[in-house]
Amino acid sequence: MDLAAIITLNGLTLAALYFIVASGFSLIFGLMRVVNMAHGSLYLVAAYVGYAVFEPLYDDDVWYAWYVGLAAGIGFAAVFGAAMQKLLLGWMQGQELRQALVTIGVSIIVADQLLAIYGGNPRQFFAPDAIFGSTQIPGIGGYPTFRLVQIGIAVAVGVGLWLLLNRTKLGMMIRAGVDDREMLGACGVNVPLVGIAVFALGAALAGLGGVIGATAQPLSQGVDGRFLLVSLVVVIVGGMGSIPGTAIGAILIGLAEQIGQAVFPTYSVVLTFVIMVVVLATRPQGVLGRA
């Protein structure tokens, strides 16, 4: 019984990480109609850059090492994402396929350069002691605190995005842009600038996911592909461009992975894709997607 509870909790914490990463992907797709195939690369870049900042501080036993690494990773990813939109993608707005191809090119180069700079050794962040040990949960016993923190961060990201999209001017512009870009431009809004802001925000979320993910699981080359696929599947299942849909997709996939691993390990990977195919067959636009 308590095993079932642990597996469920594991599924939810994994879902939290997936949600953080995929929400950025979904956001960029929602407004910009760009399938950012370099989303996994942003995750990886943020994690490596964050680690490069984190490591010397950690060596000096500075308590804020992790927070600085987190900020550095998020910041770098945001700048990288904004630069990508400004330099490569902005001027081919509307050519969705070409944009996807450009991001594929970027992801190939980034992955190879990261290997050249940081080598192939796995790395891992260590969160501050306050959130790193284990917490007693009634009925379950000791549970890694950081995994619970992951859920907290994911909820914060979800609420933050909701507030941003529904309660701020930027959010209004973004939502308007989803429905009608031209009209938004005609209203005097600097649409390209909104685009860069959205890209920076989406990339920052990938970066946040990168550092959080590299604290929960080791960081290594090749993780970019994994998180790109996770983002794809979560967003396809949940509904393209919908944040609540992304949350539902993340929870479905996270739980499926953990339950599958416990119940039928050999075929657990397939479960994820069965879910995807079933959703596509019944609701091609995803659980909460708009047709």
Binding site: L3, I6, L115, Q124, F132, S134, P144, Q261, A262, P265
Partner: protein
């Protein structure tokens, strides 16, 4: 010593020509020997491949790139640990670059692909780099493929007995990746442990699993006496970190690529639980052997400031051992590769020498190494965690001492055939 020997054989070779006894092709043979080096420089095993090349370069520098009186020219190629890529590179080395022999590859599936390719060649030789799949030499061996390094099953020799007899553990849980290399390692462990009377529960995880939370929860609730971890690389780090975070406290035993500097040099809570961990394999950081001490010293002098590890990696040592086999045979035939390399291959098959670890190496009838395996413990030494050899199993063959027919009858290692056969009563 080797250098003088080399010079003398060079002189002998030259003398032979002066005496007029040799024909034209032999003169042409004084051209450099072309050695193709194939290791993995892309993908998950890139660090291992880099270290392989470091060690090859160091060994060639030591002998002044000369063996059997001929210069050795190294042509490097790299793969990404995928069989078809390794095959494409090997074809390029043999057919385009016209190398005489290949030293490589690094990983299991690549090794089997190159073994199959070597069968289609005449007058060319492939000597393993660091790949450790048993079947490469055990089943359907190729006459042109030689392996002076030991395989994944051999690497576990001595561990099962140590756990049962010395640690007194009667029941273990094994966590392992769900693919061929861990199968071979688990097989090697179980053969000894189950024969001694031990009981085993297996937890398999698909390759690339990063979240072991549910398995760890099950293990921590069971009352096994020890946990055997046969993961490696990123999966291994993930497992260990999560095990430490979940407050795991069972005695730890590990496969050969778990107790590795790439794991120990990564920081984190896993280092706390890994201190005291027992493992087995073809190398350790600390081996009480003058040859090994000299090798490590030389490695550190050469590479520590150029991105090398504190101590040579398992892949670096395997590449060196296999290169030493080549050099040994080249010296024995005075660099003569004529006659479709028949004499050279015979010399390879007969080579007997000491690996950098001080282990004796010779080949069996399948051209597979029979060599020594170390049983190790992780200890804090000089302020860092090191893998220290405390026991040594001598002359371990590919069937771990079981008669070959009987061993083959057990079938190939797999998740359904993990080698746990109790001794016949």
């Amino acid at each position: 010593m080797t250098l003088r020997l080399t010079r003398r054989s060079a002189l002998l070779g030259a003398g032979g020509i002066l005496a007029g006894g040799l024909s034209a092709p032999a003169i042409a043979q004084r051209a450099p020997i072309r050695l193709g080096g194939l290791a993995t420089l892309e993908g998950p095993f890139a660090t291992g491949g880099q270290d392989g090349f470091r060690c090859i370069q160091m060994e060639l520098e030591r002998i002044n790139s000369t063996a059997g009186g001929r210069r050795i020219e190294l042509i490097r190629e790299s793969s990404n640990a995928q069989a078809d890529v390794a095959l494409a590179r090997a074809r390029k080395l043999i057919e385009q670059d016209n190398v005489d022999m290949i030293l490589g590859p690094l990983s299991g599936a690549e090794g089997i692909a190159l073994r199959d390719y070597s069968r289609t060649l005449t007058g060319k030789t492939i000597v393993n780099g660091s790949s450790g799949a048993s079947d490469t030499t055990l089943r359907n061996p190729s006459p042109n493929f030689f392996r002076f390094s030991t395989d994944g099953t051999q690497w576990m020799a001595g561990l099962g007995n140590h756990v049962y007899r010395t640690m007194g553990v009667r029941e273990v849980a094994i966590v392992a990746g769900d693919y061929a290399f861990p199968y071979a390692q688990v097989f090697g462990f179980n053969i000894e442990f189950c024969r001694a009377g031990g009981k085993v529960t297996h937890y398999w995880a698909p390759l690339g699993t990063t979240d072991f939370g549910s398995q760890i929860a099950q293990i921590n609730r069971s009352d096994v006496g020890a946990l055997v971890v046969v993961h490696g690389g990123t999966d291994g780090l993930a497992f260990m970190t999560q095990y430490a975070q979940a407050g795991g406290n069972k005695p730890l035993v590990a496969g050969s690529i778990m107790a590795d500097q790439s794991m120990l040099s990564a920081r984190g809570p896993h280092r706390r639980v890994m201190t005291g961990m027992i493992s087995a394999g073809p190398i350790a950081d600390v081996i009480d052997d003058p040859m090994w001490r000299e090798f490590v010293e030389r490695y550190r002098r050469r590479w520590l400031n150029e991105g090398g590890f504190q101590s040579p990696s398992i892949h670096g040592v395997n590449y060196t051992t296999n290169l030493m086999g080549i050099l040994h045979a080249l010296n024995a035939v005075d660099g003569d590769l004529s006659g479709n390399q028949v004499a050279f291959q015979r010399a390879l098959a007969a080579a007997a020498f000491k690996a950098p670890t001080g282990a004796e190496v010779k080949l069996d009838h399948n051209r597979q190494a029979i060599s020594d395996i170390f049983v190790n413990r992780i200890e804090e030494r000089d302020g860092r965690a090191q893998v220290v050899a405390f026991a040594r199993a001598n002359a371990i063959n590919q069937t771990l001492g079981t008669p070959e027919a009987q061993f083959l009858a057990l079938g190939a290692p797999s998740r359904d055939n993990p080698g746990c056969v109790p001794a016949a009563s």
